[in-house]
């Protein structure tokens, strides 16, 4: 019996999944009789089977749902959203019961009256509004229990059979009785229905027993005949193995005497009703319908289904563990085959060559066939989605169509399982966040019905799954705001990012765009989990969206996980396999030069084109001891991509790529996350398979996270300062140097033979005054011939830097790795056009050209005769380093705050400043926030403030002024800043004087 129950469970679960999607379809195509027939049939079969298995709860729920479906089929009810919802609710209950049944082996205790009563109300046409549900829940208390006597002794079939026998006996005993056979059949049904009604209290029976008896009396049955019927019925029950006590209990309901007064008291008027209604169960008009409809579904479906039925009988159910075992053994066979082939290669001419060749071939075919058994159509992972989308639409008041294509695309069941949840999540997201409410769609000029498309197809050795919708798309501004709010990026970092880049934030942990957390999405599982799950199986996910037009996810997943392509690498004599899917490229670095390998905070990074690639040595990671011999002449870097995180794994040697059979790691090693499994190479060696995810996890938090943060900052700043033009030149040595173009007043070419040497200085006539010329070393230029000269000016003064060659002017990012200091003439280095380039400090050269004279003159030029105290609030080290020397040189005493919060602290600590210069875009509090906060404080309400920004539009200017800034200047123009400072300060003094 257990076996039978298991079979029932398996079969029913399958049927239920089909039912789910068919019901949703039904809502869209309510007039499809074939569909309706199919749905009815499944529910019907479940009901029928449950009765046999002694599952009264399941049977009752299925029965009630079937009744509703039956009414729909018979045209008595229309397919409404309510009806479908109700049947779906019944379906859910059935699933719950099935689930518990599967665990416990028996139905759980409890009542399904809530669902059943609602369904009965629906079937009875009483369904109007939701309050009926609440009402219905109360009702069952008055009703006798369904699984009482009636069910216990055998239910409908028993009563039907007993009535059949009683009626047959009646027919033979009273041969001259006017009842024809068909009429007896009607009586039989009326009687069986009446007993069902009397014993269960259900409302769907056609008549009560008294009514049936009254009807018989009205038709001329004598009391004797009624008694006879009663006795025959009792006899029939007894032959059907019903206990005597139960027979008595049933017969007590058949009260022949009680019928009499009713029949007499209600004579002529009631008679026709009695004669027809109790015996003929349903209105005549509805009767032919079911039979016709059943027929109607046949021709359309017949051909296709005959074919599928034929196919069905060709299939065989096999337990999954059997298949898994088979797969394992085939893997072993493949490995052995590989070993044999390896041996054969070493032997040369061998009598084993021909049979081995055959073995080789058969093994490949066997492997393919076994793989095939693991393949399942991706539609299996989609089966719940139509229901989900439908419920979602109902819940959110949206109209959503789900269009699925390529559902028969097959892939390994293991992979199927792992993409089921991510796909569900994405579809749910599309419905929840993507598709707009109908009114919004109408306003946007779109059809009210939103569409979510799901497709799958083969492409190479991969499956491409796409989830797209025609909804609102991702609102970049919301993502931006969210990213900043959640601390995923600073306003400054995000400012210059492209729309596409900002959209990728949805994959970052802790990100959710839903403005409101609905019951549908926003349960804490975000797209980051989706991405992680997909990457775990060697897949990749891409996202694109156009605001107002929709979003599209493209997922690429491998066909199978059992056999993967892997790169074999060696480290200290040990070999390892690295899944090819996560290998981006290989880089060979000669150990002599180790060119490009740099240290950041003691951790190695490699400059790969324009990226800083964190490096990790596999030997360090695995703590493999040095073999003692010479360090290798060259190292190999396996550039690995895990999510958005790229890093390099240093190995000693790289071999070939091989198709390897993945075998699970033995239990003792399983907790080591650096390995994802083991495999056996062709030569019989057992090697470990490296897990890129594990390696990434193991190394982050140390060097990797730091380098990654740095790399991200680099990427972000590159975006942010996209407008910075740099002049790249060569001077002194072969290395290129750069200077922001905005700091160069002019670019000249002059013949230095014309320069005058005045003592320690070299000067030349330039625009009516003498300009000092210096070399890259800061010393007065001592050269001849034509040379390019970069002219820097400061106030009235200027200096010319003699260089060897102007290489280029590049529109590039500017993010400084700080080195040296103001003394060296170099602010720091930056990646320009893919190369590390020194950025020179113009102030250094201005000072070098004539320090004393210059200092004095500048002070006069900007009217800063007494030292002014400036608070510089700036989060970018580059700009701090650019502006601070400039300000100092102009005679200001500069205090630095690296962010607005620090600035507030400094201000509140009691320090006095004559002026505050603040950046606008900073992480945390912005410059606007800082200004507003300070302006609200008594001590700072009148202190002049100047805003600094990388972009200064009239709107920004106005906004700055409203926040309390006196002036607004762009960062890239230090001269403008100095001018602004002196203007603001003099105005301030003037105002103070007036006030005094």
């Amino acid at each position: 019996m257990d076996d039978l129950l298991n079979e029932f469970l398996a079969e029913t679960v399958e049927a239920l999944e089909l039912l789910d999607s068919e019901l949703v379809e039904l809502e869209q195509r309510p007039a499809d009789p074939a569909l309706l027939g199919s749905i009815f049939r499944i529910m019907h079969t479940i009901k029928g089977t449950c009765g046999f298995l002694g599952l009264p709860r399941l049977e009752a729920v299925a029965h009630a749902a079937e009744d509703v479906l039956g009414k729909v089929r018979d045209g008595e009810l229309t397919v409404s959203a309510d009806a479908v919802s109700l049947v779906l609710a019944a379906l859910d209950r059935i699933k719950e019961l099935i689930a518990e049944l599967a665990v416990a082996g028996q139905e759980p205790e409890g009542s399904d009256d809530d669902v059943i009563m609602s369904l009965r109300d629906m079937a009875a046409g009483k369904w109007a509004a939701a309050e009926l549900v609440a009402e219905a829940v109360e009702e069952p208390a008055d009703l006798p229990s369904v699984d009482g006597l009636y069910q216990r002794i055998g239910g409908a079939s028993l009563f039907d059979t007993a009535c059949e026998q009683a009626c047959a006996e009646m027919l033979s005993a009273v041969s001259d009785h006017p009842e024809a056979e068909t009429e007896l059949l009607h009586l039989q049904f009326a009687l069986a229905g009446a007993f069902a009604s009397a014993l269960t209290g259900s409302s769907d029976a056609t008549a009560d027993i008294d009514g049936v008896i009254a009807g018989l009396v009205a038709k001329g049955w004598s009391p004797q005949e009624l008694h006879m019927l009663r006795d025959e019925f009792g006899k029939a029950l007894a032959t059907l193995e019903v206990a005597d006590a139960d027979v008595a209990a049933v017969l007590s309901r058949f009260n022949v005497a009680a019928a009499k007064p009713a029949a007499i008291a209600a004579p002529a008027a009631q008679e026709p009703v009695m004669a027809d209604e109790p015996i003929v169960a349903e209105p005549a008009a509805a009767k032919p319908a079911p039979a016709k409809r059943v027929k109607a579904e046949e021709p359309a479906a017949e051909n296709a289904q005959a074919a599928s039925a034929a196919a069905q009988s060709q299939t065989l159910r096999v337990n999954i563990t059997v298949l898994e075992n088979l797969m394992n053994m085939v893997s072993e066979l493949v490995l052995t085959r590989n070993q044999l082939l390896q041996i054969l290669r070493g032997v040369g001419d061998s009598p084993f060559a021909a049979p081995l060749q055959r073995l080789n071939q058969v093994t490949s075919e066997l492997q393919e066939s076994v793989m095939q058994t693991r393949m399942q159509p991706i539609g299996n992972a989609w089966s719940k989605l139509p229901r989900l989308v439908r419920d979602l639409g109902q819940e959110l008041g949206k109209k959503i169509d789900l269009v699925m294509s390529g559902a028969d695309t097959e892939l390994d069941r293991q992979i199927l399982e792992s993409i089921r949840d991510p796909l569900t999540h994405m579809v749910r997201n599309s419905g929840d966040h993507g598709i707009e409410a109908p009114e919004d769609r109408r306003e946007a000029g779109k059809p009210e019905h939103g569409t979510i498309r799901l497709s799958a197809r083969h492409e190479g050795g991969h499956i491409i799954v796409e989830v797209s919708d025609d909804g609102r798309g991702l609102s970049t501004s919301r993502i931006r705001a969210k990213a900043i709010q959640n601390g995923l990026a600073t306003e400054a970092q995000i400012d210059g990012m492209s729309e596409q880049q900002i959209q990728q934030f949805i994959f970052r942990p802790g990100f959710s765009t839903a403005a409101q957390v609905t019951s549908v999405s926003g349960r804490g599982v975000g797209m980051d989990v989706v991405r992680t799950n997909i990457e775990k199986i060697g897949g990749a996910i891409e996202f694109s969206s156009t605001e107002g037009q929709g979003s599209r996810f493209v997922i690429k997943i491998p066909l199978t996980l059992a056999i993967v392509s892997a790169l074999i690498v060696e480290c200290r004599g040990e070999r390892f396999a690295m899944p090819q899917s996560s290998v981006v490229e290989l880089v060979r670095i000669s150990s002599k030069s180790q060119q490009g390998v740099e240290l950041i905070n003691g951790h190695p990074v490699y400059r790969l084109r324009d990226r800083l690639l964190p490096l990790v040595a596999l030997s360090d990671l695995l703590k493999i001891e040095e073999a003692g011999d010479e360090p290798p002449q060259e190292i190999y870097v396996v550039v690995t991509q895990v999510g958005s995180f790229a890093f390099g794994i240093i190995v000693d040697r790289v071999f070939d790529t091989e198709e390897i059979v993945v075998k699970p790691t033995s239990r003792t090693l399983r907790q080591i996350s650096l390995f994802s499994g083991t495999t056996i190479l062709g030569d019989g060696r057992v090697i470990m398979i490296l897990d890129p995810n594990g390696i990434a996890a193991a190394t982050s938090g140390s060097a990797q996270s730091e380098a990654r943060a740095r790399d991200e900052a680099l990427a972000a700043s590159r975006q942010q300062r996209e407008t910075v033009s740099m002049l790249v030149f060569r001077a002194g040595d072969d290395n290129t140097k750069a200077v922001p173009l905005s700091l160069i007043a002019r670019l000249e070419e002059a013949d230095l033979s014309n320069a005058e040497r005045a003592g320690e200085r070299t000067v030349m006539q330039y625009r009516g005054s003498l300009m000092p010329l210096v070399g890259i070393d800061g010393a007065p230029a001592r050269r001849d011939g034509k040379h390019p000269i970069l002219v820097f000016t400061e106030g009235e003064r200027m200096c010319g830097l003699v260089v060897d060659e102007v290489v280029d002017i590049v529109e590039g990012s500017l993010d400084l790795q700080l080195v040296g200091g103001a003394q060296s003439g170099i602010l720091g280095s930056s990646i320009i056009a893919g190369r590390s380039t020194d950025v020179i400090d113009t102030v250094h050269y201005l000072r070098q050209s004539d320090a004393a004279w210059f200092d004095l003159e500048t002070r006069e030029a900007y009217g800063a005769e007494s030292e002014r105290r400036v608070l510089l609030v700036e989060d970018s080290s580059f700009f701090r380093n650019l502006l601070m020397p400039m300000l100092k040189m102009a005679g200001y005493r500069v205090t630095i705050a690296e962010h607005a919060e620090a600035a507030l602290e400094i201000c509140r600590d009691g320090d006095e400043f004559d002026i505050i210069v603040s950046d606008i875009e900073m992480p945390g509090l912005s410059g606007f926030d800082l200004a507003r906060t300070l302006r609200a404080e008594e001590r700072w309400k009148d202190v002049p403030m100047v805003a600094l920004s990388s972009h200064a539009s009239p709107q920004d200017f106005e906004r700055g002024r409203r926040s309390g800034f006196n002036d607004y200047v762009t960062k890239l123009d230090p001269r403008a800043l100095l001018t602004s400072l002196s203007r603001v300060l003099s105005t301030d003094e003037h105002r103070e004087e007036t006030a005094a």
Binding site: C50, G51, V294
Partner: protein, 127 residues
């Protein structure tokens, strides 16, 4: 007397049901029971073997029990085969329709061995 060794064909597209009916028949003492998963398969099997009884579900796909019944009754060789229809719907009009199509009897699901036996008796006589 009913020959307990006579071949019986049971027809249902739900495997669980086939097993249940099979078990019940075995319990009553029948030994030769064949199974078919729909009407067309049953019809094909009936043409290959003389069955003493057919017990068919009504509601099947693609070929229903009702269609099967009509085909059987329309076939010269098969038309005398006793036929019992299994249904989960106790609707008198269905039973009347089946009777008119020539069904020998019907059983409402679910049923016990005793009920099945009673029904078989009406079709096959005492056993």
């Amino acid at each position: 007397m009913v020959d307990m060794k006579m071949p019986i064909l049971i027809v249902d597209d739900y495997r669980t049901m086939l097993r249940i009916v099979h078990n019940l028949l075995a319990k009553l003492g029948f030994t030769d029971i064949d199974e078919a998963s729909d009407g067309s398969q049953a019809l094909a099997m009936m043409k290959g073997r003389d069955y003493g009884l057919v017990i068919s579900d009504w509601n099947m796909q693609p070929m229903t029990g009702f269609e099967l019944l009509k085909s059987v009754r329309a076939d010269q060789h098969l038309k005398a085969t006793p036929f019992i229809m299994v249904t989960a719907e106790s609707k008198v009009e269905n039973v009347v329709a089946a009777r008119q199509a020539g069904v020998n009897n019907y059983i409402i699901k679910p049923f016990s061995a005793a009920v099945l036996k009673a029904k078989l008796k009406t079709v096959l006589g005492e056993f």
